[in-house]
Amino acid sequence: MPEVKLIKRFIETENGHRLREFESAGGYGSLRKIIGEGWDAQQVIDILKASNLRGLGGAGFPTGLKWSFVPKDIEGPKYLVVNADESEPGTFKDRHIISGAPHLLIEGAVIAAFCIEAEDIYIYIRGEYYEPARIMEQAIEEAAEAGYIGEDFLGSGHTVRVHLHRGAGAYICGEETALLSSLEGGKGWPKLKPPFPAIKGLFGKPTIVNNVETLSQVPIILDKGAEYFASLGIERNGGTRLFGVSGHVKRTGIYELPLGTPMKELIYEHCGGIRNDRKLKAVIPGGSSCPVLTAEQAASINMDFDSLAGIGSMLGSGGLIVMDETTDLVQILWRICRFYAFESCGQCTPCREGTGWMTRIMERIAKGEGTVQDIDDLKEVAEQIMGNTVCPLGDAAALPVVSFLSKFRADFEAQVGPRRVHAGAVVTQAEAEEN
């Protein structure tokens, strides 16, 4: 099946990051429509609910439902926060939207702000995105000049201000409560939920946090209709999403496909198959936190939230990392463990200590100094982290460990105990160049 380019159409528009080109491609049409025709928030929310749009930041929570949690009858400010922190290893789709279609994001964010009665939108963008931030800044200026944002935007009688806030290099700030702590000017420490941000969020006020891609789908749904969007996907998993594929495929990149598309089709048709026509070994389906899949699982699974949850994994951020038969999974898991240990905020003991512990055990195994006992200890530490922490980073660190060990135990056993083999580099430079 060919790609369905709802968002990608804008990204691929030449100079689509500029206002005029975006408008020529039909941009800001949905915002004009709801303001011009005097819609109320409930109409928009009903359409989103019917569209089956689910949050594309990782958790897959239904977007229309989330917006409906914001209390309507209270005084004081409310906030819309755009999560553009994108730091989950294997994930890069939001960067393409911000750089290629920043106005689509602004349009969706303004519609969201209108629905929840927020006058301030904060876009929290990861610090390393220097160039995307400059593009976003320019788009905000263009939108203000054209009257799509600001006081009485489009003659709506409403006000909306858009602020760009740069993060400073901390993966945990992608987690929504940590993001809010950071935006308030503190360390990025997650908070216990409830209260949920929709009730008590930024500066203690009702706040919706949505991912870049989620918000970018909103104007498209309002333009094309809920039925169309829902019909693209499958039951409870509406529309398309930008799958980002990296690793050992011939053509890495973003591919916009309906939810429910077979993974096989993405890897072998859109991405052209595995580099050097090798055999597939494993796939991480949605950013490094998601339990790994074997080649057999990858061959038969469909890419939607429920199918992946059904086999004990997750669709996550939609960032697939594809690994061929030459991959040393021990090295890869060690690298993943190091990542979570480095990024743990240190607030809860199981996560802070457990991630460090897992990393040290993995290092031993990867250096050929491990024992079979280490493999069992590793699994036990991971299991003790799960479910015992303030935020889901603890689980995110533990799930890869448990899944690698249960699905590829032989790879680990081959490098411990009497059958120790030193691992070496995952891919030699010569091989990388050959690709």
Binding site: P77, E86, S87, E88, P89, G90, T91, F92, D94, R95, R126, G127, E128, Y129, Y130, E131, H163, H165, R166, A168, G169, A170, Y171, S182, L183, E184, G185, G186, K187, G188, F203, G244, V245, S246, G247, H248, T252, G253, I254, I284, S288, G319, I321, M323, T327, Q331, I332, R335, F339, F342, E343, C345, A425, V426, V427, T428, Q429, A432, E433, N435
Partner: protein, 162 residues
């Protein structure tokens, strides 16, 4: 080093604070500005930022030390951030580290003697489709090979020497 920004920069800070209902929420941007001015965020700079935002200096220090991009210590004039997370490792990041060790004589966390380059290995840069990735200063380079890395470093050296 006299720890004070220009009047113009201080005015910019007032404008930044205006984006938030609380002064302290502007700390991130103010730290970036301070870093631009002073190179890194040492104790005097933390004290200065604390004064600007009416915050205890220990608070400022906690924020500075929490985030990777705020520099507590000086780095070379050009910071090389080499991603060695999963996708970049799968596509040859370790070869790039080896290449830099040969070429510049530095490993991760080290700075060249002439202070021109500091190398960091970093977590995913959000550009995995271009793996292996390197950032030099504010510029992202993808699909790196030792040859392309040489070219990028040469280009940086030319502007650095100018």
């Amino acid at each position: 080093m006299s720890v004070r920004m220009s009047d113009e920069d201080e005015k910019k800070i007032t404008e930044l604070i205006g984006h938030y209902p609380q002064k302290r929420a502007a700390i991130g941007d103010v730290l970036y500005m301070a870093q631009q001015n002073f190179g890194h965020l040492g104790p005097e700079v933390e004290l200065y930022v604390a004064g600007l935002l009416d915050l205890p200096v220990t608070y400022v220090h906690q924020v500075v030390s929490f985030y990777n991009m705020y520099l507590q210590n000086p780095v070379g004039r050009n910071l090389i951030m080499l991603c060695d997370n999963v996708s970049c490792t799968l596509c040859g990041a370790s070869g790039l580290v080896e290449h830099l060790a040969k070429k510049l004589g530095i490993g991760p966390g080290e700075t060249t003697k002439d202070d021109k380059f500091t190398l960091w290995t970093v977590e995913c840069l959000g550009a995995c489709e271009l793996a292996p990735c390197v950032m030099i200063g504010e510029k992202l380079y993808g699909r790196m090979t030792p040859e392309k890395l040489d070219e990028a470093l040469d280009a940086v050296e030319q502007t650095d020497d100018a």
